[in-house]
Symmetry: C2
DNA sequence: TGCATTTTCGCAATCGTTTGCACAAACCAT
DNA sequence: ATGGTTTGTGCAAACGATTGCGAAAATGCA
């Protein structure tokens, strides 16, 4: 019994009340031109008869959808889902809905997803680009139609849009500084691909911290992950520890990789944090429930989602404002068991 | 330099080509009434001038948005984000976009989210209800407007909608049977709240397996989590193992809880799987990267997202079809180190 | 050649809401 | 009373695409 009852329209109300459609429309938004009396009459009728505007018509008329698009490389990912959570929260608060899609880190998929969103007429786009995205012509299409784009986390500087990013450099620096403060002297880093900005920033922060404290550094102590998997962590840990010059602490690009490292170290009987210090990045749930619990760097993903959404909605409002601001979100060191040598 | 160039409309094309709007419209969809020649002409013009229909207008006219709403209790959750991933994939494949929102397991938020979606005019809704949802009047509003709803995972039988669920009973049964096959005889269960269907189903499967194999059972072996946290797992493990009648295997409602159990057991020096067998549910990434790796039950969340979306889109097509089918997705046992006593 | 089809296209209404403008009624001041 | 302002309302166009219907042009057949 699909109850396909026709929805009430302005025309219906006008007919019933013996007034014109335009008056009804204006009365409902309490336009100053309309008599108080009429406004009350209309509003009451609308209320009791449960009038709800046809948003398809409104959107069409206003050329606005109150929908925002969001594209991430991967949805099933602690950090990104946290960002999305923040974006939804803020979008809803401001009366917007969020359309979500993912690129699987494949450019072709990202283009498809963005086209689908452009078509479905979102008012703006939040995007964390795929590893394969460089030029981003598909994103320019948004700008060409006057629809704002805000990049977050994984960004490209090729596109003239505002950006919301984590201060990766600083986060990495303080993670490594923490290791140093705890007394570790031979610190390795398992990083991500060179062409991904976040991973380069973190690596730079790592190097700077080492340098600032005049610690030994060894090119062989920097390993490059391609897939950011725990298995890579395991394998690189093996490589590092079996080398002629093994480190006594490892800073990993992300918690998952650190967990792989942890697995290797425990398997070989190393004591953590006594023999080897270990710190990750991102503060996934993983890091809190592992044994020992992993020290890590909180990225405030929720806040990133909120900020990016805010920026975007602001731009949707002021169409003509050229906004190229970059918001940098400060990280926060989360110290747990895997690095607290001083208390071990 | 917001490039607010007006988009090309049918009217523009008609004017340029000296034909009427209606002919242009029909030509673009190769209507049989239109001459081949005209069709080619129009299509070529549209192509080279990059015509793209104004979907706001189309949607308004057709009273359809090609958007689907999806609401889950929690977005930052391995299982749910996996389901969403499947839903997005299938929705996009069929030309739909997915609007995502979350209820935080709070009824009030769920109502807000569903209203927002109803307003923004989705064509249908996928929902996994919050723990607080019982009657679901806010979901009836969808049905009343002729918009189909499909429930998945966390469902209520009060609503006349199709459902896609995991065969929790069977999954739990086979998990426990696996423990039994491995030689465990005293099996405890840490379950979820009684008023949540999934957790009751799993508990029922557990009990049935125990009973079918004539194993000892003890009411004190069934513990009830309220928040499904790892800390609860830790605490209940302590309770269980310190009791007068400690079990030698534990089946947990979810991997996270199992991880808490694992933490306790390792802390107290129990060997897993030799001293105590441990199996979780859901196959989160957590379970694969813990030490020892956790046995668990794969729920095929991605498939659930795909199936639910499929069902919904089918119903959007056939508005009048009364579809109350329930799709039950089979689970799959994932055997890892934490239960393989026979090989330990 | 004349009439009946068929082919091809345009007119105009429609979806529901918004909004510029005109206009009538009511008011005020001179 | 006259002219001018204020107040309240309605008319009609507009947004862009779709579609039923009618009509002109082209074709077929006798």
């Amino acid at each position: 019994m699909m109850n396909d009852k026709k929805k009430l329209t302005l025309k219906d109300i006008g007919r019933e009340l013996g007034i014109s459609v335009s008056t009804v429309s204006r009365a409902l938004k309490a336009h100053p031109d309309i008599a108080e009396e009429t406004i009350k009459l209309v509003k009451e009728y609308a209320e009791t008869h449960n009038y709800v505007p046809n948003f398809l018509a409104v959107n069409f008329r206003k050329n606005k959808t109150f929908n925002i698009g969001l594209i991430v490389p991967e949805l099933v990912h602690h950090f990104f889902s946290t960002v999305i959570s923040g974006a939804i929260s803020e979008a809803n608060r401001q009366g917007y809905n969020l359309l979500v899609s993912q690129s699987n880190d494949i450019l072709k998929d990202e283009i498809l997803a963005s086209r689908a969103m452009l078509n479905s007429s979102v008012d703006g786009l939040l995007i964390s680009i795929s590893n394969e995205t460089v030029e981003g012509d598909h994103l320019r299409e948004f700008l060409n139609e006057g629809k704002p784009v805000v990049q977050f986390d994984k960004i490209t500087d090729y596109l003239p849009t505002p950006k919301v990013i984590v201060d990766d450099f600083d986060g990495a620096y303080s993670a490594v500084k923490h290791l140093i403060d705890e007394g570790y002297t031979r610190i390795a880093h398992i990083r991500g691909r060179e062409d991904v900005k976040n991973s380069s920033e973190r690596c730079a922060g790592y190097l700077k911290a080492i340098q600032d404290h005049n610690l030994e550094s060894d090119p062989d102590w920097v390993k490059v992950c391609r897939k950011i998997s725990d298995q890579e962590g395991y394998d690189f840990a093996k490589e590092l520890m079996e080398s002629k010059n093994p480190p006594n602490a490892i800073f990993c690009i992300t918690d998952l990789v650190a967990l792989g490292v942890l697995r290797y170290l425990k398997e070989k009987g190393y004591h953590i944090p006594k023999d080897v210090g270990l710190i990750g990045f991102s503060n996934w749930m993983l890091s809190r429930v592992s044994t020992p619990q992993l020290s890590t760097v909180e990225q405030h993903g929720f806040q990133m989602g909120v900020d990016a959404t805010n920026l975007l909605i602001e731009m949707i409002g002021n169409h003509d404002v050229e906004n190229l601001k970059t918001v940098e979100i400060k990280t926060e060191l989360v110290i747990r068991e895997s690095t607290t040598l001083s208390k071990a």
